[in-house]
């Protein structure tokens, strides 16, 4: 099961980590359960049916799992009238259903969207996000999350993960097939098994990278669509810079005070090498900001 997450994962891994751990534990639990079923001698078809039911159940309860694991609370209009107004403004202008709104009480600025269908979705923001951003920037972030909902990114990524899971199971079952099946050819069975294992690992790894590539692409799309919703790409850009901490790193000390100018000769830290990019679910902030500002320039 995949969930939609923080667009600025780099800064706040905690929240994402909690969601991932919750789902990982669930996945392990049902893998153990299925293994037990297989051990007691249940056939392949009943196991597949039970697995299917479990995946559906997890899918069905995914919202509750996310809310529970992050400590997000659904908030009413009375509790957060301004936040409700802000969301309503965006959805009304863009003809979208209004999602439920949840808040996490933490200083870490973050936001994410969950939900199986646009109607049942939830947009969650942290109190830190509301404190740090100006209204227009917060609008940009929420529009980004609403785009994830509109584009059904949760579904896209869940399906993508499901395919990789299925590919993994297929490889695994052919691995067991190799173990128990080939009576007459025990001698070269070892090499065959190794090959299957290798293919399984490669399959899983490639699908892992692909899911991440899809996810990064969906982020760019959500940035673009979100910016179109508000009509202010530069506000989302500055929100991204604030949340990622880049804004704070822009110097205020005068160039003339950088006397010896040693500052200019420090080897720049290897910032977001392409290797790290392959594994992350979000594109680097500077790339996202660049695209948003190009949009701003094209719009004005």
């Amino acid at each position: 099961m995949y969930t939609k997450k923080a667009p600025w994962q780099k800064r706040d891994n905690g929240l994402t980590a909690r969601i991932i751990v919750s789902f990982a534990i669930l996945t392990i639990l049902y893998l153990v359960f299925l293994s037990v079923l297989a051990y007691v001698g249940l056939g392949a078809i009943p196991i597949a049916v039970i697995a299917g039911i479990m995946i559906l159940a997890q899918w069905y309860f995914s919202d509750k799992i996310v809310l529970w694991s992050t400590g997000a609370k659904i908030v009413s209009r009375e509790q957060f009238p301004e936040l409700h107004d802000l969301v309503e403004r965006i959805v009304a202008r863009n003809n979208l259903p209004k999602p439920r709104i949840a808040v996490i009480n933490t200083k870490m600025p973050n936001a994410f969207a969950t939900g199986k269908t646009p109607k049942s979705s939830i947009v969650t923001v942290t109190t830190g996000l509301m404190d740090q951003l100006e209204t227009e920037e917060l609008e940009g972030v929420i529009a980004h999350e609403l785009s994830h909902i509109k584009n059904r990114d949760v579904l896209v990524l869940t399906l993508a993960s499901l395919f990789s899971t299925i590919a993994w199971y297929l490889m695994q079952s052919s691995l067991y097939g190799g173990m128990y099946g080939g009576y007459g050819r025990r001698r070269d069975g070892g090499g065959g098994m190794l090959l299957v294992l290798l293919v399984a690992i490669i399959t899983w790894f490639v699908s892992f990278l692909m899911i991440r590539a899809i996810s990064r692409y969906r982020e760019f799309v959500a940035d673009r669509d979100g910016a179109l919703m508000t009509g202010k790409p530069s506000k989302l850009a500055s929100a991204l810079l604030k949340i990622s901490g880049t804004m704070k790193r822009i110097p205020t000390q005068d160039l003339r005070q950088m006397e010896g100018m040693n500052a200019f000769f420090i080897i720049p830290a290897l910032s977001g090498s392409s290797f790290a990019n392959l594994f992350s679910t979000h594109p680097p902030v500077d790339q996202r900001v660049k695209k948003l500002l190009e949009m701003e320039a094209a719009m004005s």
């Binding site: 500055s238 810079l241 790193r249 110097p251 205020t252 005068d254 003339r256 660049k290 500002l293």
Partner: protein, 164 residues
């Protein structure tokens, strides 16, 4: 970029370098002044030399034709380098006026890094980062740009506007 951002060249630009005491530097200063004065019949521009509180000398140019301004500025920079003071050269600054929001925006050329970055002061010690980034995205493709924003050092109280 002028069209895209509503920015207009004001016809003011400047080059700045750190002053040192000594005859060589004094001679260079005189040479530059003689040279710039000699340009004036042909080139439609005015210049003045200001020394700021940091001990940096500013040669500020003002004129209508951009080509003239750039030529004079580049030539001044070259003269400083030729006289062996290239280490003293700090920056060149180009001024723009924002026609939509008002106020001045600058493009700073850093001689050390050989690239440009934007600077939009909004007050005594405050800057408009959003405008700066909009500038960068609009010009970024056309010039060598400083991608590392932590090196976008401001130049407060630029002596470009008022004489003295």
């Amino acid at each position: 970029m002028e069209v895209k951002l509503g920015l207009k060249v004001t016809g003011r630009c400047a080059v700045t370098f750190k002053t040192v005491s000594g005859t060589f530097f004094y001679e260079m200063e005189q040479d530059i002044k003689r040279f710039l004065t000699s340009l004036q019949p042909e080139f439609d521009l005015a210049y003045r030399a200001v020394t700021d509180s940091y001990g940096y000398m500013w040669i500020v140019f003002e004129g209508k034709r951009i080509e003239d301004l750039l030529a004079a500025l580049t030539a001044t920079g070259d003269m400083v380098e030729e006289k062996g003071f290239s280490d003293q050269l700090l920056a060149a600054v180009f001024e723009f006026a924002n026609e939509r929001q008002g106020g001045h925006q600058y493009l700073i050329y850093n001689y050390r890094r050989n690239n440009f970055y934007p600077f939009v002061p909004t007050g005594q010690k405050t800057r408009d980062t959003e405008q700066e980034m909009i500038m960068m995205s609009a010009i970024g493709e056309e010039m060598p740009f400083e991608k590392d924003m932590t090196l976008w050092y401001p130049l407060w109280d630029l002596p470009l506007k008022s004489p003295g």
